[in-house]
Amino acid sequence: MKTILKILLILSLAVSADAREVKLLNVSYDPTRELYTEYNAAFTKYWKAKTGDDIVVSQSHGGSGKQAQSVIAGLEADVVTLALSYDIDAISQQAKLLPANWQTRLPNNSTPYTSTIVFLVRKGNPKGIKDWDDLVKKGVTVVVPNPKTSGGARWAYLAAYAYALESYGHDDAKAKDFITKLYKNVPILDSGARGSTITFSQRGIGDVLLAWENEAHLTLKEFGADKFEIVTPPLSILAEPPVAVVDKNAKHHGTTEVATAYLNYLYSDEGQEIAAKNFYRPRNEAIAAKYAANFTQLKLVTIDQEFDGWTKAQQTHFADGGVFDQIFQPQN
């Protein structure tokens, strides 16, 4: 018995002597702070138990477009977890840090969870906002981030545009007119979703915030359901925020294996539960059913259906001189 114990002790010492510390940098979009705080704790515990190695995950958050540009400019992310695939495509095309087919490497087009855009209004909904049409009325102030920098803002813009297309028989001119009226009611553009949340909830500006669904729930949690309420429009867009290993950076840091495992774990039961608890719609059907009460059912249109994909949408609406540049005039 003593001999066995000695052997076990020696083996455990050998394992711990080989344990190493691995550092990962996750460059993410703006509203995922709480999600990844919880997820990182879970993953590091899982990885430690599996391999004995200690993982230290550093996070960077900001508008998805800005974050992508930071990685292109040299921020050495091991993984990116951004708001839309176009931003990760930009990293692939401009900086050649990961292959063009990155989205095929993980399930569900590398989107372990989805979300959508909802309305966050003041308690009592004093302006009676129920649908996208209410956002273009005179006297309604809308808070939404800048689609040039924020992924959430691009989803919100496209959700509104999609609503207009659906309402006006896919008449682009009328949809453009609709979106013009909506952005006439936007007095200020933050660079990211979290900034807009601050503008609306802490600075008291606006009647309605076009928010990521998870961000709206988090705001209710933080400020109390007596200050705000969520209005889910009957139609919105299916937002699919993707994740990817940044191959060249991970290879340079020697973190490819850990980075891959880090993203794979998002699809595990624990990863999906954490997503759901943080108000992201999980891909796992069983867990989605478990948390169904958190998520209102609505009609979700996709970017492929309405806009022929991100590349076309980016070019048409958000590139320099695109529709957004044509219709948005800053107020004041």
Binding site: I188, D190, S191, G195, T199, R203, I205, G206, Q331, N332
Partner: protein
């Protein structure tokens, strides 16, 4: 108000009417009809009063809401403006982190990248001198002249925090030279590695910056010290600067080579090093904080070259009083040793140096080890009370006539002696070379501010040996008396 009064009057009147009518019972049908009609009137009046009251309340409510809406509107506008300002400040702070910084001040024009990985500063040194040879009876070859003694743009900087560089060309006198061109890796203050062209670590006076020498020209002691050389040197400051060391391998420089070269023309290498001690530098004994002493030296072995021989030893007036004759070669060991010390205490500055340069020379099959020696002692006193230092003086009250401020003033004096080995004569020395030169100097330095200095001085050099009318005779046959002036800009 009037409508209120009317309403109250109608209401009270109606009440009285009702009461009066209630007390008087009807006596006949006509009266009953009248009463009924009156009752109807009263009811109508009552209704009118209610309507008027409601109207009044509605009007009041309507009068309040436009103000409330306006206030809310203004409140939103103010919040939006404040938020825009907040976002602009955030954006400016983010932009500032990526913008290069530019600085212009008494230490030059500097710029650095936002991350401080690239820092560069442009300094400058301009010395505009005059030399006037007096009482020379036309005998010396010294020419009275104005001259640009030094004109240097000095580029210094640091890349990636640990790598310093210096590039200094000089356009003064009649030649254009690269004076300094080196890279210094400072792992920490104690351990640094320097490579390139820079001052050889031997002579105390030679190592002092050109900006801060007491007189226009260094003393004749520095004639025996090497000037700038090309090589690699390990150096550092230990114990918070109480001990400084430098040790390097170089191409090898002759005694006082006024014009430096950028490559070697032989296979010889020279070793040079120096230790300098300031044991009380950080002590509480103020009177000893400025005391420093040390020793520098060099060693090389030359093989039949004349490029390792000095082009000549010069007076303060920059006239050669000794040169080697034609056909002399450096051929053997050449070593130098220089014990040295300085002392600074308040306005007092004192400096002393002794230097031996021992070199084996050969001419026509005849060889000799020539040991030339020199020593000097110099001192100064800042009469305006500022502290003197090896690295200059900063006036407490920079020159400004309007404020009646006159900068800092310093009186200075020096005595130096250079002795040529007798074995140099007559074979190895040019005709007319002196065997000894003694020089004393006095002067006045005016530091207008940290960047501008004006000085005037007088130097007299007397010679032993030499003389005659050939070779260096015209120079050494009588004392040299020179008045110097200088206007200096250094930043």
């Amino acid at each position: 108000m009037k409508i209120n009064q009317l309403l109250i009057a109608i209401f009270v009147g109606a009440q009285f009417a009702v009461a009066a009518l209630a007390d008087d019972a009807p006596t006949n049908s006509t009266e009953a009809a009248e009463i009924a009609a009156l009752k109807q009137e009263i009811q109508k009046l009552d209704q009118k009063v209610s309507d008027l009251e409601n109207q009044r309340q509605t009007e009041q409510a309507t009068a309040v809401n436009p103000d409330k809406d306006q206030i809310q509107d203004l409140d939103q506008k103010v919040r939006i403006l404040e938020r825009e300002r907040e976002l602009d400040q955030d954006a400016a702070a983010t932009t500032a982190k990526t913008q290069p910084k530019i600085v212009l001040g008494p230490n030059g024009f500097g710029f650095s990248s936002a991350d401080s990985n690239f820092v560069a500063t442009l300094h400058g040194l301009i010395q505009s001198d005059s030399r006037t040879f007096i009482d020379d009876g036309g005998g010396t070859l010294g020419k009275n002249t104005f001259l640009i003694r030094r004109a240097r743009p000095i580029f210094t900087g640091t890349v990636f925090h640990d790598f310093d560089f210096n590039f200094t060309p000089d356009f003064g006198n009649t030649t254009v030279q690269i004076f300094d061109a080196y890279l210094n890796y400072h792992y920490n203050p104690e351990l640094q590695l320097e490579a390139g062209k820079f001052k050889s670590p031997v002579g105390l006076e030679a190592l002092q910056a050109d900006t801060w020498t007491l007189f226009n020209e260094r003393s004749i002691v520095t004639d025996l010290a090497p000037n700038r050389d090309i090589g690699v040197e390990l150096h550092g400051d230990l114990f918070s600067g109480a001990v400084s060391y430098a040790a390097g391998i170089f191409n090898g420089a002759p005694d006082f080579n006024g014009t430096t070269v950028n490559q070697d023309v032989n296979d010889n290498r020279a070793f040079a090093g120096r230790f300098f001690f300031q044991p009380w530098k950080t002590s509480s004994v103020v009177a000893l904080q400025g005391l420093g002493f040390g020793v520098g030296g060099s060693y090389e072995v030359d093989h039949g070259t004349n490029t390792d021989l000095t082009p000549g030893y010069r007076t303060d007036g920059q006239q050669n009083f000794f040169t080697y004759s034609s056909g002399v070669f450096a051929d053997g060991t050449h070593w130098r040793i220089s014990p040295q010390a300085y002392y600074y205490y308040g306005p007092l500055s004192l400096s002393a140096e002794y230097l031996i340069s021992d070199q084996r020379v050969t001419k026509g099959g005849i060889s000799a080890d020539l040991q030339n020696t020199a020593w000097e002692i110099s001192g100064g006193w800042v009469v305006t009370g500022e502290n003197a230092s090896y690295n200059g003086i900063t006036p407490k009250h920079p020159f400004d006539i309007k404020k009646n401020q006159w900068g800092a003033w310093q009186v200075v004096a020096r005595y130096a002696d250079l002795n040529i080995d007798n074995a140099a004569f007559p074979i190895f020395a040019t005709t007319g070379s002196a065997s000894e030169a003694k020089a004393w100097s006095v002067g006045l330095n005016w530091y207008l501010n940290r960047d501008i200095r004006v000085n005037a001085s007088f130097s007299r050099t007397t010679f032993t040996g030499g003389g005659g009318t050939t070779g260096l005779g015209p120079i050494t046959s009588q004392p040299e008396n020179v008045v110097f002036t200088r206007i200096q800009l250094a930043f």
